[in-house]
């Protein structure tokens, strides 16, 4: 049972999950196979139908959830269109500004770039008060974020500021504020990435290095990614039930990318060992942690984590095999071995799945 199911429905995603379960139950009960096993009396059937219709209507009224498969498909289309539309509008605004801002005086430029994100934020707030699905709100919030990025970048350009990592802090905090205000996962992910980048850049700058070099030695970024992964364990999210998964996804993806670059991409490390030993160490760490994360994802029902970790495990394994065998093994044999390993992994996962299914069956 996921986090959302254990608590009363308070978020749009939790409401959608609840509506999906009701809809599936209604569909299953209508199948002849189940009716042979669980025959409801006409009165019970009517009570169930009334309850299901009432429940779906309540959820639709309060959270504007999809109560049919067709509605769900249309909603996905709307989500994709609103995201793409938001990106296109942001590009249009930025390019429009670039087209004309050279002809404006400095005070006018400063007023426009400062006012633009505030106007978009006010627009998002206005839209949020009038819609429950937050398509337009998400679009305007994304615009506010992009305009704020443009705001500080334009001020830095107008006044020739020396580049500073503090802009990452402002952008990240703003994105997180918008994400929590409107329950937007895309902005949460952007905010978390910016927060990780800022923390790593601030430490790098503190030691007298250029802040832009913060990703040169990725161990620090990897540690920060682990901290981001752990945030939902320390801070519960009762009102934003789908946010912990975003923390875990961002944390795990950034962590595995850091370890992969340390193991395979010839990047420098903080460790005072020979380069080849550092690469071997991180290959081992990558394999071990990704295997552990697959287990954790399965046990805790964190399916996003399990998928990311499985992909990372396969990448770590195959790159290791490539280094071992590619040069001396005939190419056909190499791919044959990789194929055999792929089949072996499928069998392992199948067995794991079977064991989980047996555990799930009540005694």
């Amino acid at each position: 049972m996921g986090e959302a199911e254990r608590r009363p429905v308070t978020s749009q995603s939790g409401a959608q999950q609840s509506a999906d379960r009701v809809r599936l139950l209604r569909e299953e009960l209508a199948t002849p196979e189940l009716q042979r096993v669980l025959a409801l009396s006409p009165e019970q059937q009517k009570r169930f139908d009334d309850w299901a219709a009432d429940r779906l209507a309540q959820l639709a009224e309060r959270f504007d959830v999809d109560t049919t498969v067709s509605e769900e498909r249309v909603s996905w289309g709307m989500r994709i269109v609103s995201t793409l539309g938001g990106i296109a509008i942001c590009a249009a605004v930025v390019l429009f500004f670039l087209r004309y801002w050279g002809n404006l005086g400095t005070p006018v430029q400063a007023v426009i770039v400062c006012a633009a994100p505030l106007a978009a934020l006010a627009g998002a707030e206005f839209a949020a008060a009038r819609e429950r699905t937050l398509y337009f709100t998400g679009l305007l919030a994304l615009m506010a974020f992009v305009l704020f990025v443009m705001n500080l970048a334009a001020l830095a350009s107008i006044f020739n500021f020396e580049s500073t990592e503090r802009a990452l802090l402002a952008w990240g905090a703003f994105a997180l504020g918008l994400a929590y205000r409107y329950g937007l996962r895309l902005l949460l992910a952007a905010g978390l990435l910016l927060a990780i980048s800022y923390a790593a850049a601030a430490v790098t700058a503190q030691f007298g290095y250029r802040w832009l070099d913060f990703s040169d030695r990725p161990e620090l970024v990897a540690i920060l990614a682990v901290l981001v992964f752990c945030v939902p364990l320390a801070i519960p999210h009762p009102r934003c039930a789908d946010f912990p998964a975003v923390y875990r996804l961002v944390g795990s993806i950034v962590f595995f990318l850091c370890i992969l670059s340390l193991a395979e991409s010839d990047v420098p490390s903080y460790l005072p060992f020979r380069h080849v030993n550092i690469e071997r160490l991180y290959e081992f760490v990558g394999l071990l942690v990704s295997a552990g994360a697959i287990w954790l994802g399965i046990v805790r029902h964190w399916y996003g984590l399990a998928n990311v970790s499985a992909a990372s495990f396969v990448i770590f394994l195959f790159t290791r095999l490539y280094r071992w065998w590619w040069d001396w093994m005939p190419k056909y044999l190499f791919f044959a071995v990789i194929g055999a390993l792929g089949i072996a992994l499928v069998l392992v996962f199948k067995r794991l799945r079977g064991r989980m299914a047996r555990k799930a069956v009540p005694a």
């Binding site: 670039l98 801002w101 005086g105 020739n160 929590y180 009102r239």
Partner: protein, 264 residues
């Protein structure tokens, strides 16, 4: 929580903008740290990749001279162990030590300030050095190569580096010919060279190289109009730009002069 996050988001917007505008004002308060006039050789018009971008920028061009002397590349004259230590580099391993290559390769570039001298002794030395090298190589295999000319070359030369602006300014007090700018500097190791013919042996030594100086300088309205007009007819543009650096070592363009039209 939700109301608080909205207030926080709006506050971040306002505080960040206020901070940026106060920072810009603070930079331009008081007497400028550097007041220098440069030409199109040091500040050429910046390349604008996007044709629709109407902003105008100038690119600061500078030279950190490491030259071929007797066939051996040498680091810039300003880079000595004392300055390297002042910049925060660890110079504890002697350059001749077998561990030196890995030790110095592992050190990351550091933030610093550098002094750029305009059309001064460092430039004159550079002109003389290249002329001397051309004479020395005149009879060799490179004799058929075209002679190096300095037309259009920037006359801004890196002459010093330090960790603080005030200390550098004390060493170079002329604010009209030496500009102090933020930079990124990396440590380098010059390997030992054996004697070869008339070339003397040279021991391994530590040196440095300027890796980056913020180069792009925005030109505000109405000064940018001049450059836009020139962009339509870019050949033979000659101009002089009065460039100021403020308390935060950030530049701004104070004036643009064009040469007086010649009498017919």
């Amino acid at each position: 929580m939700k109301r608080a996050s909205l207030v926080a988001a709006a506050a971040i917007l306002l505080v960040a903008d206020a901070f940026a505008l106060i920072h810009a004002r603070w930079n331009r308060l008081g007497p400028p740290e550097t007041d220098i006039t440069l030409t199109e050789r040091e500040l050429p018009l910046g390349y604008n990749a996007d044709e629709e971008d109407t902003s105008v920028t100038l690119d600061l061009r500078w030279m950190d001279i490491s030259w071929e002397a007797f066939g051996q590349e040498q680091g810039p004259r300003w880079a000595n162990p004392d300055i390297l230590r002042e910049l925060g580099f660890d110079t504890s391993v002697p350059p001749s030590d077998p561990r030196a290559i890995e030790f110095y390769n592992r050190q990351r570039p550091r933030r610093a300030f550098v002094a750029l001298e305009y059309d001064g002794p460092a430039w004159q030395t550079h002109v003389k050095d290249t002329a001397r090298q051309a004479r020395e190589q005149g009879s060799g295999a490179q004799a058929r190569l075209p002679l190096h000319t300095h037309d259009g070359e920037t006359r801004l030369i890196v002459v010093d580096a330090g960790s603080a602006v005030a200390r550098l300014r004390r060493r170079h007090p002329d604010r009209h010919s030496v500009m102090i700018v933020p930079a990124v500097v990396r440590i380098t190791l010059e390997l030992a060279a054996r004697a070869n013919g008339d070339q003397p042996a040279r021991p391994a030594r530590l040196s440095a190289a300027v890796q980056q100086i913020p180069a792009s300088i925005h030109v505000p309205e109405p000064l940018s109009d001049l450059f836009r007009r020139w962009q339509r007819n870019p050949s033979q543009i000659k101009y002089r730009v009065r460039l100021l650096y403020g308390a935060e070592n950030e530049p701004w363009v104070a004036a643009v002069e064009t040469p007086a039209p010649s009498n017919p």
